[in-house]
Symmetry: C2
Subunit: 459 residues, 2 copies
Amino acid sequence: MARDDRAPAGAYDPATYRLLTFHDRVPHFRDGSDTPRAYLERCLERIEALEPAVRAWAFLNIDRARQAADEAGARYRAGAPLSPVDGMPIGIKDLIETCDMPTEYGAELFRGNRPIRDAAVVYFLRKGGAVLVGKTVTVAFGGGDPAVTRNPFDTRRTPGGSSSGSAAAVGSKMIPLALGTHARGSTIRPASFCGAFALKPTFGGINRQGAFSAAQSLDHLGVLGGSLADVWTTARYAAKHAGGDPGSPGLYGALEPPEARKPQRLVRLDMAGWAVAEEAAKRAFEAKLRELETAGVRIYSRRDDPLIEDYEQQLARMPGLWQALYRFEMRWPLFPYRDHDSAKLPPRLLKGLAEGDLTSQDSYRAALITREHVRAIHEEIARRCDGMVTLSSPGPGPIGMDQGSAIFNEASSVIGAPAINLPILSAEGVPLGMQLLGPWHGDERLIAVGRWIAETRRA
Amino acid sequence: MARDDRAPAGAYDPATYRLLTFHDRVPHFRDGSDTPRAYLERCLERIEALEPAVRAWAFLNIDRARQAADEAGARYRAGAPLSPVDGMPIGIKDLIETCDMPTEYGAELFRGNRPIRDAAVVYFLRKGGAVLVGKTVTVAFGGGDPAVTRNPFDTRRTPGGSSSGSAAAVGSKMIPLALGTHARGSTIRPASFCGAFALKPTFGGINRQGAFSAAQSLDHLGVLGGSLADVWTTARYAAKHAGGDPGSPGLYGALEPPEARKPQRLVRLDMAGWAVAEEAAKRAFEAKLRELETAGVRIYSRRDDPLIEDYEQQLARMPGLWQALYRFEMRWPLFPYRDHDSAKLPPRLLKGLAEGDLTSQDSYRAALITREHVRAIHEEIARRCDGMVTLSSPGPGPIGMDQGSAIFNEASSVIGAPAINLPILSAEGVPLGMQLLGPWHGDERLIAVGRWIAETRRA
């Protein structure tokens, strides 16, 4: 094999690297020139070739996936696919319960755990004919020490976390789509490092029941994919059938992905991250903004509007606000797990839990009030533009197995606003994402804007 | 034994029947004239005597409870109890996870299930020294066919559900306090039938994580007890340490129960239930209102205020609104359980699930909008008075093992407003509750008003 074990997925150039897509194969499934089984086999070949170096999978359910793909193929042949995800190979982050595969939460404590149910989103995707290829590697409980997965473009680098395996599998073209979760940066960050598209929807947008969550008011079910079309359709289909989180209306919009839509005005945010971002990352981001301006998009910043400046000052304190919320919420379920067998909890998690011992309901309430304030500012600014843009991470996945920084991701986790990763930048020869943020329930329009930006990159 | 097996807890007269209380024993634990172990032994004697007829318990953890009571006793002797619940014998509804007792959700499908963690509220009550006596019987998944528990005042009658065992155990003075859950009427209804005080707090008031829920936007962690003092202190203590549901501020107020507070104005609501309530129940309720008026409380109704009339018209449609919300939310987790082994699901649950097959995200969203509208009316009326009163149920627990009607309970489940059961009425010689409702986060003041009403009953 000629493959470079240092870069199993090959060299990365955002202008030429083509991710795996599914929606564009559906016409071929319908006319018989391709089949879901053949599509799956191509995925499995890629997995076989790259997995030893990437280690994206906690479990592969190949026999069952082949069976599901064959069943989907029969439906296409009969002209009666079940849904837009019928036959789509999907990876499931191992924080998310599955009834036919182990669900270990990346944690020693749950080695061999076999739930009898699928998580809500898995249940309804499976009903729609999705082909569940396997469970993707996660950082333990979403917040422990880095997982075994490596960045497919440079195995010395982290793929990010905690949806490490989902991002690496999509970024390396093993599969067209994977599910993640996101309570801090766990969907957008690894997507940035691994070159995948991703949607962290509006809070409550996709039912997350059956996924482990250490901090439910920060947590989201996220979708990573090779195209915004697949990401959108899968997310919207899941929400339509599984609902959003209970009490939420869930994702709004059509099942079909929205047409690309040129933004008139974008707001560029520094957040807490710009001050610590790497020079190469800043240059890549600034160059992209110049490109957008050249294409006629107006870019506004803190220098243009006192409200944006006010927002930036709030965003600079976002890491502390995220911590204040997380520290109180994670006390349960993590305290009981610590009591049960602390030796089986990862060291990083134990360190965080010690901070949970020191917090209180009163400081949590204070953080909730601040959250409402920042959310109101975010919504007001969102009304004035077609999206807000930042880096998705302060640089590409760092060398070493740390998960990398979530400093650009905490804001949307706290506020609950939708966020999209666009894999359209690079630095040091590996992927780097641009993040696009919008107002609550503006997911569909944000996807439209994201499509335009992503498609313009080659213009 | 002279005990009447038809009425194991004896005759019921709300004016003379004294429930078991805990808070008033604490001074005796402190001065050594009583001990938590002796208190527990009195509970266990009562359990031993009544349990064969009442069947309130799914599991009893007697050895461990004795050990916990002894440890609490040592702390009182040392002058250092851990909390206001230190040494308090508590029953845990079997929808709520416990790390040292089976958690079967009343369901065949979970026979022998042993979680490794305590639910959030159990975890922190245990840390505070509470003595967890055992698991109380629940209707399967909170919504299946009636459980085996019988009404302690007339074993031909239902104790109500789904917190059947918790209500029967408190009402029959086996224990001073028990935890319940409430997504429709599951705390207030059985408390009404069994003569227990109960608080279903403001939505999100007490962290319900680790309790089974088929409909999370309707579900609440509830507390049943022999006095509003114990109910309040336990609820508030639990919320202080476990928090409310993630993202909620949780119950507000002091740990100490508020002083009784005479209401100036109460609003009497018919809801959907008055039209179908039993004559004896109506008479008991009307007589209590006259008593309150005699004591100087002004009672308002739909005849006095067009907004109340408007609210009543909304409340008349509450059963349909509750259904619309429940039907969509319960699809997960109950659909996966049906797929796993439908023979192990109770027939009533299966019937409900068939309705879930017919609903949609769009009709769910319509119901969410109606909910917001009704909630706004409720809050506006709550501002104009010191509480709203209704029957807690259209009559006492009916003969036969049906759970009885929740028609007076659906409103606060949908709206999320706090509700209290006051065991101050009776009909046909068995208990019947008066329900007191208030504004979001008005729990503490509602307890104060409830105490006044309950104490006035003997005036």
